[in-house]
């Protein structure tokens, strides 16, 4: 292991200290650095909270800011935060209009967010939930509820954040977030493993000449381990699965996120996007919004994921809306 560390046990808390020193836009509540919230919540707005394990920056806390999320409960590396931390975040960000939880489909996160919602209910705070399940490699069609949540949650955050900023009700924000969730698909490919600081060695291994399509962002098994192929072939294999679920026809419009998993240069991400764009073009579809970079990582894992959101008249302006957060800023398209 070769990492910038002091004591591995302080990995998350020291990271958070850096975050607070760098970004005055966010702060924390209940004297607990792991309860991250916007410094200035907007009165009357539906609050949006997320949460999950550390090790995925910019996910999850990086999207807390103007017109996106209002709070994030931060867990240890690849571990769920506690229900109590989520509850504290909920209490702070509730402005009387209720709170929406948006998080990924993992057992530990679900049990704790459910518990937090139950505690919030006792306080008289209405909580709704939308659980990201965009990873098409993690379960088959018909079993979507078993799919993991990965980078595509970015689009759910963006849609919900814009809807809440527009002053919509909790029911409407929830409906739009769920619509984004239902229309986004992600597939990833891993080229190498990652190292959890407190463990100190690679979680698994991927051979020098191998890749694994569909591997999860904690190293969960994917669809299959194969020989590394040329970039265009890798994209063709990945996108064939996406198009099978999100058909792209003449005149259809999409938003695309090409996400690096932590150890892959941006240059390579653009080589991947080149091919993604060609495939949409060949189908007569338009890629209206594109983001390329690191949005949801797995420590230093080399690899990438491609997330595709099918747009419609309702989702389009929400995805176009301006946001400003510590890890992501976007001017209105």
């Amino acid at each position: 292991m070769k990492k910038f560390l002091n004591d591995p046990a302080n990995f998350v808390d020291e990271m958070l200290e850096g975050i607070y020193r760098a970004h005055s836009q966010v702060t924390y509540v209940n004297d607990d650095k792991r309860c991250l919230v916007v410094a200035k919540p907007k009165a009357g707005k539906v609050g949006i909270a997320t949460g999950g394990g550390s090790g995925h920056l910019p996910l999850f806390l990086g999207y807390v800011g103007d017109n996106m999320l209002d709070g994030c409960a931060v867990g240890g590396v690849f571990q769920s935060p506690s229900a109590d931390q989520m509850h504290e975040v909920t209490k702070y960000i509730d402005q009387g209009a209720g709170v929406l939880y948006i998080y990924g489909n993992y057992t530990g996160d679900i049990i704790n967010f459910d518990m937090a919602a139950e505690l919030a209910d006792i306080d008289g705070i209405t909580v709704k939930q939308v659980i990201g399940n965009d990873d098409i490699a993690s379960s088959v069609v018909g079993e979507e509820h078993k799919r993991r949540g990965v980078a595509g949650i970015f689009f759910v955050y963006k849609a919900a954040g814009a809807a809440a900023a527009n002053g919509l009700s909790l029911d409407e924000v929830t409906r739009l977030a769920d619509k984004a969730r239902a229309n986004v698909r992600t597939i990833g490919v891993a080229l190498s493993s990652c190292v959890v600081p407190e463990i100190g060695h690679a979680t698994f291994s991927v051979g020098e000449d191998e890749m694994e399509i569909g591997m999860g962002i904690h190293g969960e098994p994917g669809i299959g381990r194969t020989k590394l192929a040329p970039a265009d072939d890798v994209v063709d294999q990945m996108m064939a699965r996406v198009f099978a679920e999100l058909p792209a026809g003449e005149g259809d419009e999409f938003a695309v996120l090409v996400n690096g998993l932590g150890g892959t240069p941006k240059e390579e991400l653009y080589i991947l996007f080149r091919r993604v764009s060609q495939l949409f073009e060949a189908k007569g579809s338009k890629v209206k919004y594109v983001w390329i970079g690191e949005f949801a990582t797995a420590m230093e894992m080399a690899g990438a994921s491609i997330s595709v959101l099918k747009l419609d008249a309702e989702l389009d302006p929400l995805i176009a809306a301006a946001v400003n957060t510590p890890f992501f800023a976007h001017y209105k398209a």
Partner: protein, 212 residues
């Protein structure tokens, strides 16, 4: 005791606290066979915190408020799976008893039914998965039958405790489907489930409390 009132409930939490303190090492060892050994710590910590909370609030807070406060403090104190499930049970039980001042046999049945259902939902467990649900579901069933036949609280709880023991014995034949124990699969056959053991301890202590 023919019914549990708010001041009795504080005494009951004291009994639960003392019992889990006494069973701490036993539960640590039992959980250590296929789990991560934290169960004894989780339960003794959560019930100590719950007793402190209900004692501080006092009987004047009312029955359901005390149950809710106990559940909420448990969720804070022990954010492990079993701590969260136990907390959920108390919160759901409190909800089921909304508006009641006393727990007689019918209310006891409603409490444990809500407790079991809450745990099943939160833990996504079904009967036969070798969990605490495999004890609490028959307990609720026995109490519902006792309530239907007009039984008094003490004999009804006695019957529930007997059913809990038998149900725990039956978990030995099951294969664990949840938590860290699930990784051991067939090796869990023959072992009594640690979570289900907690269920028996809760019900037995409650039965002894209403009998005494």
């Amino acid at each position: 005791m023919d019914a549990i009132r708010a001041d009795d409930l504080i005494g009951l939490f004291q009994s639960w606290r003392d019992m889990f303190a006494a069973q701490r090492e036993f539960l640590i060892a039992l959980d250590g066979k296929v789990g991560d050994s934290d169960l004894g710590i989780t339960m003794s910590k959560s019930f100590a915190a719950a007793y402190d909370t209900v004692a501080a609030e006092g009987a004047a807070a009312g029955l359901t408020k005390l149950l809710r406060s106990a559940g909420a403090i448990m969720a804070k104190t022990a954010p492990s799976t079993m701590g969260t499930l136990t907390a959920t049970g108390f919160l759901r039980g409190a909800k089921a008893l909304e508006g009641k001042d006393v727990i007689g046999t019918a209310e006891m049945a409603a409490f444990w039914r809500a407790y079991a259902t809450g745990i099943a939902e939160r833990g996504k467990a079904k009967l036969g998965d070798k969990t605490i649900l495999d004890v609490l579901d028959p307990v609720a069933g026995v109490l519902e039958a006792q309530a239907a036949s007009g039984a008094a609280l003490a004999p009804a709880m006695k019957a529930a405790a007997v059913a809990a023991d038998a149900a725990l014995e039956a978990t030995k034949t099951m294969v664990a489907q949840h938590g860290k124990a699930a990784a051991f699969q067939e090796k869990t056959v023959g072992l009594q489930d640690a979570g289900a053991t907690v269920g028996v301890l809760l019900v037995t202590t409650m039965s002894e409390f209403v009998a005494g």
